[in-house]
Amino acid sequence: LNTTLESYIDKNKLPLPFCPGCGHNTIVEKLNIALVKLQLDPKKVVLVSDIGCNGLSDKYFNTNAFHGLHGRSVTYATGMKLANPELHVIVLIGDGGCGIGGNHLIHAARRNIGITVLVFNNFNYGMTGGEHSVTTPQRMKTTTTPFGHIEQPFDICQTVSVNGAGFVARTTTFDENFSDLIVEAISHDGFSLVDIWELCTAYFVPKNKFTRKTLNETLKELDFSQGVIQQTSRTEYSRAYRCLYGKGISQPELPIGKLVTKFESKLSTPLRIIIIGAAGMKIISAATIFNYGAILAGLWTSQRNDYPVTVKSGFSLSEVILSPQEVVFTGISKPDVLLILFPEGLEKGKPYMDRMTKDDILYINADLLPISTRAKTVPLKFSKGKKRYWALASLAKVLRHAGIYPLNALKEAVALHTKFADEYTAILEADRELVRIA
């Protein structure tokens, strides 16, 4: 900055709206002192405030500000820092926000995203009427704990510390020098948090005869230390991200998937093929390669897949439409050709088999016979083992048996457009041994 800023507070907007004796007055004052000490460009500073009385404080600062939803301030702050790492992002959150948004706090700490969180911690909800919060100490009375609080208070500092926060400190508004802790927190290159204990003179003080003395006694009783609790030097997340994923580290473009027509197909009307097998048996991959072959042969295709929520168990299905024209509707109710390779696919295939007519062809693993269908049934015998190649070998067999498009198109699809070209080429060379018509 060219000139020295004497205050980051807009004096025209004063006085602050907080109750007499409320700790928020002190936190706002100390944050201003910290900003003056740091002399940051106000245009590079953003205060992200949360719900509760503390959320009224950003208005008084001559910096950027965003006032967001309860407990979510850390998420907006993270987005801002990721988008523009030059920003000094300061979250103003209450103990309520730390409850409802506790998850975000943990993960921001773990990520070590370079934001500073200032917790206005007065052990209750001052704005909504003095209800208990996650930091209310045991035995204390609030409007929602009229006979005293039973739950143990949330240790914000330890929670973020054990999860990798870069800088963590605890203080009270009675500490004359806590603006220095705020300076340290903002200066820290990584996630930083200052848990600031204070008095809510509207509710918590009168309900519990709570004073500076009892506040300090509570800290002692809980064995909560003050001052800097943790300081580490892990790399800040937005920097780490740009180092690892930044521009210039783009992956090489694979030629896979860009297909130039060089074969011909005699197909004159759309052909609907469904292949059903078992999960993990490369059904969908084989259908994709089969589609690539069709595209090389000048056909238009579609592929619609279906599978249960499980990954390596249950059925796996691909519906493929090959057509001399562009495909408009990608669904199939009755296939012209159906392949059922594994027992897992039998139940799924049944409705299709019921709908098929004598003009349709069913290729089915002979071990699954007998079945009832009007379709012309072609039993397939597989040599044992290499089950993961049955799908591709079967589709090659269909091409040999039923035509559709040249087998060489499939071979080229395998050779030029798959990641495992050698492996698959070998399968196509050996498909006669792997699968034969019984």
Partner: protein
Amino acid sequence: MMRELLNGSEAIVRGAIDSGCNFFAGYPITPATPILLHMLNEIPKVGGVAIQAEDEIASIGMCIGAVMAGSKAMTATSGPGISLYSESIGLAIMAEIPLVIVDCQRMGPATGAATTGAQSDTQFLRWGTSGGFPVIVLAPINILDCYRLTRHAFNLAERYRVPVFIATDKEMVATAITVECGSFPEILKKERRVVPEQEEFVPYRIKESSEVPAMSSIGGPHIVRMTTSSHDEHGYLTKSPEVLNHLNRHLNEKIEKFVNEIVLTRADLDAGAETLLISYGVTAQSMFAAVELARRQGLLISALGVETLWPVPERAIRDAMQEVKKIIVPELNSGLYRREIECLARPQQEVIGINRVDGELITPEEILEKGLAPS
């Protein structure tokens, strides 16, 4: 002829990248996960940031923060994730954050059927947050439309400063078709309207109620203040009846007054047809295939594909149904959009739904059967 096999998620991601999207945050959920995976790969290539957040609430929160800092952002989820986005959708409406949200719909309430497509969120996307204020919802009919409507979604988000949804589903994001390489339509990229450095910036200052204020990025040339609360032009909390009235009317009018500029439909009308089919998303694929079948039989039939579900393209719908006796609305739900059509139909016009909720697609044959049945 160079061709490729392209699925809906790839088309959406290419649309986003070509729109200048440089921020993505998402959380894995079937069937939206492929978009997260593609974005994690593609965004670093354009110098942006893509991240898997700890949950859906953080995903959309990070996007909102990134937009305020100058990014163009997108997130993607499925119905259960939209439930978690709800409060932040409201925030984006109130704070006027341009944002693109992809909903890859799946069937049913709650966890529902994760790998089964459906058009479950047709009304939910419009009414899914408190307050009742408008958003924009686009529904691609086919895979090339996934690209085209994603481009429109980014433009609309910038123009109107609202969350714009792409309502798609498992049937689109996980289904692939052959496309000609380079066949994506050219669409002019709309850049964010920002206040120049030398001009005064008042975050929410507008002259007319339907006007959309220009932005300035946090970290840029101005001091910026935005808020999720009811606010005056400076972004300060207010209870002034006059200011609240102005704000709430503005949030409605900035969309309502421009419906005809926002909406996109695809009409294929036969003069003299007695039946009009109206549908959207994947069921509109079946609808247009049914039209082809009917015409091959020498029959007259009209169809209207609705690409902008919200705001409802009332004029286009009214125009299309002017001459017909019967209106058929196929949907993969119990009739969620049919109620919008019924509102617009004349009393003597019959509005009939074709509805499947069993996870199977509605076929062109099913539509034709209903469409041609005597009323």
